[in-house]
């Protein structure tokens, strides 16, 4: 090949590299090539040092959830034709990806009861941040108000993005149940209020009042969820008057994966569609008049609009969106509702079991599949002792709210994976401890 090119060695191709920066030999301090077997051994050892959620009673939620994903879903996303392809910029040979994105958008719109949805964001937290920015763009206002029940990670990510662009962020104090706080806080300068239901403490709230108050002031309601399964049972954003709905889709089709990759869901009303960030797939026809799908409205996007784009996002969570849509396709509306009921019922059983223990106080007044409770001891110590008993009991609230005076509060979740035995084990261990 060098002959055809007319070069003596590959070194010639690197002639433009400043002499001083050219590395001699291989880079220092790094090992060379290892065979597949050796690599597999090494990674397997690392994996074995972690405790997987399925290995015992497990009650951690707070933004990511242990759910059962049918084996079929993983088979579908491992299809070479889905896994190893690129963004569908050549629609003639990407209808597989495009049609599934169109199906995804339809499903997300239906689940959130919103008009339109995009083809995914990185995750729920970045979707939330993008929603805030979008609201400032729509309203041409500079103030964003965050509920005290918004997941602190979402709040932090949103705050960071907004402040970088010079917007004001008002963070309401952490509160397990602050149904009216957003309505009270909204004013004429507000671009949007951001509420969450179920919120980070598990509380489900009808945000209709916040929506009305916001709309009265010319502001938008951004409605957030971290548990997509809740959409099968809980009042969805669209039924509460949300203008933008964002959330985490991990629960459907995607594993825990230590926090990523996940899939951000983003939906809004029809009239806001041209202000949306992210990719959109739309229906069209080919030269023979056959129905087909393409990426569309890309004049919103950075590769066309550059510094005028609605966002800088390009690569998003395509394959996670496929996992979501495949799982949803198997579930259907009926299966989603069924799954949601199983989650709720497991959480009710858990709450009943814990509530029966002296010293435990359930703090969340209304919930879907997770709730907060108070222990008579330091939460971190309780969780450590539960751990010794083989139970991963939840998240201490102080991990998410370091300044929130919540040292004795534990957030815990139950799902369709939670068995009666798991609940009994939790209750027995907790009773022993406190």
């Amino acid at each position: 090949m060098l002959d055809v090119i007319g070069a003596k060695s590959v070194d010639e191709f690197y002639a433009d590299v400043p002499e001083a920066a050219r590395l001699k030999g291989t880079i220092e301090g790094l090992p060379n090539y290892q065979g597949e077997l050796a690599v597999e051994r090494h990674l397997s050892k690392l994996a074995a040092k972690n405790r997987s959620a399925s290995s015992g009673p497990f009650f951690v939620g707070a933004g990511a959830y242990q759910h059962h994903v049918p084996a079929t879903v993983d088979m579908i996303i491992q299809r070479s034709e889905f896994l190893t392809t690129y963004t569908p910029y050549q629609p003639e040979i990407a209808q597989g990806t495009l049609q599934t994105l169109f199906e995804f958008q339809t499903q997300v719109a239906a689940m959130t009861a919103m008009d339109v949805a995009n083809a995914s964001m990185y995750d729920g937290s970045t979707a939330c941040a993008e929603a805030a920015i979008m609201a400032t763009r729509v309203t041409r206002r500079k103030k964003v108000i965050l509920s005290g029940g918004l997941h602190p990670h979402y709040a932090a990510a949103t705050k960071m993005v907004c402040e970088a662009q010079g917007f004001e962020v008002v963070q309401l104090p952490a509160a397990i149940d602050d149904e009216n706080a957003l309505a009270d806080a909204v004013d004429d300068a507000t671009a949007c209020v951001i509420g969450q239901s179920p919120n980070v403490f598990g509380t489900v709230t009808d945000l209709s009042k916040s929506a009305e108050a916001a709309h009265d002031k010319g502001a938008l309601l951004v409605s957030v969820f971290t548990e997509a399964v809740s959409l099968g049972l809980v009042t969805p954003p669209g039924e509460m008057g949300a203008d933008i709905a964002v959330g985490e889709g991990q629960s459907i089709g995607n594993g825990l994966n230590f926090g990523g990759p996940y899939v951000g869901l983003f939906a809004c009303t029809q009239k806001l569609v041209r202000q949306m960030p992210g990719r959109l797939c739309g229906e069209t026809e080919d030269a023979d008049g056959k129905r087909g799908f393409v990426l569309t409205l890309s004049t919103r996007e950075q590769h066309i609009r550059r510094d005028k784009a609605t966002s800088n996002i390009c690569t998003n969570s395509g394959l996670c969106a496929l996992a979501f849509t495949a799982h949803m396709t198997l579930l259907g509306g009926k299966g989603l509702e069924q799954m949601a009921l199983l989650n709720h019922e497991a959480a009710c059983d858990l709450a009943d079991a814990l509530d029966a223990i002296d010293g435990v106080e359930i703090l969340t007044p209304r919930f879907f599949n997770e709730f907060a409770f108070r222990t008579p001891m330091d939460a971190e110590a309780v969780l450590a002792m539960l751990d010794e008993a083989g139970v991963v009991g939840g998240v201490r609230a102080s991990r998410l709210f370091p300044d929130g005076h919540m040292g004795d509060v534990i957030l815990c979740a139950a799902t369709e994976c939670t068995t009666p035995e798991d609940i009994a084990a939790y209750a027995a261990a907790l009773k022993e401890i406190i």
């Binding site: 049918p70 719109a109 690569t315 998003n316």
Partner: protein, 493 residues
């Protein structure tokens, strides 16, 4: 054959998932219950399998053939990556479970971070960015925070961006509150140094420069050191877009070029699959000057060998610019990338870069007589052509779509914007010479037809699952979801 949408195939009373029967208790919902069902249909398991199988066969993929998308680095995705990412110890752990129970995960992040730092010659890396553009955002936020720390957050707002840059560069700069100032390319496809010097001399509002290197013309910025020095002298920082890192891994360390921040696309350089548009992962290496401002969370190894997550903006992270995402980044991609990196090693990664560059130059050499190289001389890992060789009426898109009929995915079209009708071809190191020859033969024959003005090119593709799609129609009155046919007219009755 057309495959119906799931909404046309499924029925609302079907579910393909085996779940126990719930008891229909909603006791603790407090009445905040959904009023109207989703109306979404379900498919039985066999129906769903067939639906997605048939759809998948309408896609092209690297696993089916060469995927020469310039600036996208579509290389082979080893299946070992997929296998290991699915180990329960990685795939089935919760981001908020006690740190003592995820020491292997934290160690893996730390190990991958060490590789990325060493390969780039940079002292720090932020692991949480979720894709390339997100990594750009991370780097520019670090620059912003550094300027704020210097008390110049309000005065230094101007970021220089070459005209040839990826669209994400200007978009990101704006998202960080900066103003974009475009600089031109010179006649050999690199930064116009004269203009650069001019822009730097005239003012003290420079926040930094965003440069892709190797650049989007497939060329190494030969003045890179000088550019870095000029920027630093002007009080700004140097952001390097790492999209093309695959050309230089193991040959050059960006840290030696004066770079202050650079994102690394794990889904390009380190073979995590693109998945039809993501998930990606964009860890961002940072210079000494920017390291203190890295986002939370990050992993540190304590003296007793225990790995610890720094999640709050205090202590080690007191100067952090904040949190970019919930949780710790794209763990699933980290596993895949580390698998690839360990499988290659320092020697193999260098070899891969050299092969990628060799392959691109081979393509450029084989095609230069029938197509028009955008610039003279060797290229890096991608070969750039203009449409100068085509007859009137034949456009880049016609050549691209004709490649589909030859069994290939088209190259990147009309980018970079600085070259007329650009065709950017990146073969990557995965291809054998035989495969490159077959590809060149195909493109050569199309190029000859284009030069002769063969009108049939304009109808291509003829053999794909669909003919050319009408993108204008799609955008004119967007249909973004399926709607029950005649739902309106039924409702009106």
């Amino acid at each position: 054959q057309a495959e119906g949408l799931i909404f046309e195939v499924g029925t609302p009373d079907t579910t393909g998932v085996d779940l126990p029967k719930p008891k229909n208790r909603t006791g603790r919902l407090g009445g905040v219950a959904r009023k109207k069902g989703t109306g979404l249909p379900g498919l039985s398991e066999p129906q769903a399998v067939r639906h997605y199988m048939r759809l998948s066969q309408k896609n092209y993929a690297i696993d089916l053939g060469l995927f020469p998308l310039g600036s996208c680095t579509m290389k082979h995705n080893p299946r070992l990556n997929e296998k290991l990412a699915r180990l329960p110890g990685f795939a089935d752990i919760h981001p908020l479970q006690p740190q003592a129970t995820v020491q292997g995960a934290l160690e893996l992040i730390d190990e991958l971070a060490a590789w990325l730092k060493t390969l780039t010659g940079m002292p720090a890396v932020a692991m949480s960015p979720k894709a390339g553009a997100h990594g750009e955002f991370c780097g520019m936020m670090a620059i912003r925070q550094a300027l704020i720390a210097r008390g110049e957050g309000e005065t230094r707002k101007r970021v220089l961006v070459p005209a040839s840059a990826h669209g994400t560069n200007p978009a990101t700069a704006v998202q960080c509150g900066f103003v974009v100032d475009e600089i031109k390319a010179n006649e050999i496809g690199r930064v116009n140094m004269e203009q650069l010097r001019e822009k730097l001399q005239t003012s003290d509002d420079i926040a930094g420069i965003m440069l892709t290197n190797p650049n989007t013309c497939g060329l190494f910025e030969s003045d890179i050191r000088e550019i870095a020095d000029l920027i630093h002298e002007a009080g700004g920082y140097f952001y390097c877009d790492g999209a093309n890192f695959n050309a230089i891994v193991g040959r050059v360390r960006p840290g030696d070029l004066g770079v202050d921040a650079m994102h690394i696309n794990l889904h390009k350089t380190f073979s995590t699959p693109h998945g039809g548009g993501g998930p990606g992962s964009g860890p961002t290496v940072l210079s000494e000057a920017l390291a203190p401002y890295a986002p939370v969370p990050f992993v540190v190894k304590d003296e007793d060998g225990v790995f610890r997550l720094v999640e709050d903006m205090e202590g080690d992270a007191s100067e952090s610019f904040g949190r970019m995402v919930a949780f710790h980044g794209q763990m699933g991609m980290f596993v895949r990338a580390l698998t690839y990196i360990l499988s290659h090693g320092a020697d193999g990664l260098k070899q891969a870069s050299e092969d990628a560059v060799l392959n691109a130059n081979y393509i450029q050499s084989r095609l230069k007589s029938v197509m028009t190289p955008a610039f003279d001389g060797y290229c890096m890992h991608e070969a750039l052509f203009s449409d100068a060789f085509t007859a009137e009426g034949i456009e880049t898109i016609d050549i691209a779509k004709s490649l589909i009929d030859e069994g290939y995915h088209p190259m990147t079209m009309y980018f970079p914007l600085v070259v007329h009708g650009a065709m950017l071809i990146e073969p990557t190191e995965s291809e054998s010479k035989a495969e490159l020859d077959r590809f060149c033969d195909s493109l050569e024959s199309i190029a000859r037809r284009a030069a002769q003005g063969d009108e049939t090119l304009k109808g291509a593709p003829y053999l794909a699952p669909m003919r050319r799609l009408d993108e204008t129609k799609a955008a004119r009155k967007p249909v973004l979801k399926w709607v029950e046919p005649n739902a309106d007219s039924v409702a009106a009755e």
